[in-house]
């Protein structure tokens, strides 16, 4: 008679698609609205048509980590800069877009 292998194997990973809003804490993603790639932070102020074509329309559209913008519309209204794996939906980073932009300056 064969025995079953190891009793229970444990796997712990980070949760995902509940968004850890820096203000409001862990929330269901239905409270947020998605805008798109975080590339939209980099408006080519004063740029030419080609720069705007790239900014408005062209996307890398990766299968792995995507940096993107969400707004906590049902919460604090903050725009969030989120790093999320678009295949597993795992979220690895949430920051306030406002801070990110100000630090970058």
């Amino acid at each position: 008679m064969m025995r079953a292998p190891a009793l229970v194997q444990i796997c712990i990973e980070n949760g995902n698609m509940r968004i850890e809003c820096p203000h409001c804490g862990d929330r269901d993603h239905r409270e947020f609205e998605y805008l798109g790639s975080a590339k939209l932070l980099e408006r080519p102020n004063g740029g030419d048509a080609a720069a705007y074509h790239d900014y408005v329309y062209l996307r890398k559209n990766p299968t792995g980590e995507n940096t993107e913008l969400w707004q906590h519309v049902m919460g604090c209204s903050a725009w969030l800069h989120i790093v999320r794996n678009v295949t597993t939906h795992e979220i690895t980073e949430v920051k306030l877009a406002r801070d990110l932009k100000e630090v970058a300056r």
Partner: protein
């Protein structure tokens, strides 16, 4: 083998052992005149029309998984031609004409069922916009009937005319719209292409392009290098990745669209019905399941599964619009990866790489487009010219501003 009444009878009486494989399992050759990447509905129909209409026989279709395993087998099977914008109008009109003859064309029953598509309007503004749409459809030669509230009630009395949020103002019916058996479309085209000598190669993933002097030479695959005179990309859901291997960045995002089916029930819904205020559309399959869907989940995703907010939203829309479905049970939900283009319309065009062609960005329109997209892509690849029903699906339209925005939502793929 040709399917006929005689074959059915003969096989039925002899234990059905005489049926032949619907397609071969060929080994890839060293090179082909044309390689199509993607064995979904569009790739298969492209190969079919290349072989049938343009007489090109040395063709391979390379499929990463199994034939018809992408969106052609994951959609809600709706076929219609009630678009609004120039570019889409003539394209879907042509597609519907091809659909109407597809069974005879393929000698394969794709079960096109023109049971009518009804789009509901919930206020005067929507009603006028629908009239514009209907007039445009009629001007294109397609069917459209504008219905007031009482006409809609006569057609579909089970809708909530009492206290729906939002009230039914009227609707636009396209009687020639309907549904088709999605898998059969892929299989029918596959069979037709195979019969004409096209090599359908499954479990063959394209890993890279060989490009020399700005011209395509062939593709690197999981089954070795395959030379090609021309290469067509028809890989909805993976378009950005495949194009990136050729150095292209596209106006496309990938999103997940969920679809749902209930347990089979006796016929209650004859038409395809779409709600104009929430994101919800529904039809009943020949098997009896209520097939329904909504909007994309709203965020980029390559996972073929969705999340609860959209599931709930769609079911809530069903309950306000047609509360008689409350006691049906949702049996299965699934997701497909949509190539969401930045204006909601597709691209069928050459690329900056000579000999490399792109068919993508189909958003929600891919299934109903299958015949005309394949025929147009084949036409472009064979002749180098745009088919006259697909002249506006240009890759550079985002640069020039000639966008085709049927929803008017701009460069927000998750809102199309």
């Amino acid at each position: 083998m040709h399917y006929s009444v005689l074959q059915i009878l003969k096989n039925g009486l002899t234990g059905n052992k005489g049926w032949k494989p619907v397609w071969r399992n060929p080994e890839p050759k060293k090179s082909y005149d044309v390689v199509i990447i993607g064995g979904g509905g569009h790739g298969l129909s492209t190969a079919y029309y290349l072989a049938k209409t343009h007489g090109i026989r040395n063709i391979a279709v390379l499929e990463k998984g199994y034939l018809g395993g992408g969106n052609v087998g994951r959609n809600t099977t709706i076929v219609r031609a009630n678009y609004l914008q120039d570019g889409n109008l003539e394209f879907y009109s042509h597609s519907l004409k091809l659909w109407e003859n597809l069974e005879q064309e393929l000698n394969y029953n794709v079960m096109l069922s023109q049971r009518g598509c009804l789009m509901l309007a919930h206020n005067d503004g929507q009603y006028d916009a629908m009239a514009w749409r209907g007039n445009s459809n009629l001007a294109t030669g397609d069917d459209a009937v504008l219905m007031g509230r009482e006409d809609v009630r006569k057609l579909v009395p089970f809708l909530n005319f009492d206290d729906a949020r939002f009230p039914i103002r009227g609707g636009l019916l396209q009687r020639t719209g309907g549904t088709a058996r999605h898998d059969a479309v892929a299989w029918g085209y596959a069979r037709g292409a195979d019969m004409r000598g096209v090599d359908l190669i499954q479990n063959c993933e394209v890993k890279g392009f060989r490009i020399e002097g700005g011209k395509i030479k062939g593709v690197e695959t999981s089954r070795g290098y395959i030379g090609a005179g021309k290469v067509g990309m028809s890989v909805a859901g993976r378009t950005s990745q495949v194009a990136e291997m050729a150095g292209l960045r596209l106006p496309i995002e990938s999103h997940v669209l969920q679809a749902f089916v209930t347990e089979a029930v006796k016929p209650v819904i004859d038409n395809v019905i779409s709600f104009g205020m929430g994101h919800f559309y529904i039809s009943q399959s020949d098997k009896g399941g209520l097939v329904f869907g909504g909007d994309i989940d709203g965020y980029n995703s390559y996972s073929q599964r969705g999340n609860l907010p959209m599931v709930e939203h769609v079911a809530e829309a069903a309950m306000t619009l047609m509360p008689m479905v409350g006691k049906s049970r949702m049996l299965r939900s699934w997701g497909g990866i949509m190539d969401m283009s930045m204006d909601g319309s597709p691209i069928i065009d050459k690329t900056p790489v000579a000999g490399l062609y792109l068919n993508g960005g189909w958003c929600y329109g891919g299934f109903k487009a299958t015949p005309a997209a394949g025929a147009a892509f084949a036409h472009l690849m064979a002749t180098g010219k745009k088919a006259d029903w697909a002249t506006k699906y240009n890759l550079n339209r985002f640069e020039t501003g000639h966008v085709i925005d049927d929803e008017g939502t701009g460069a927000r793929p998750n809102l199309h």
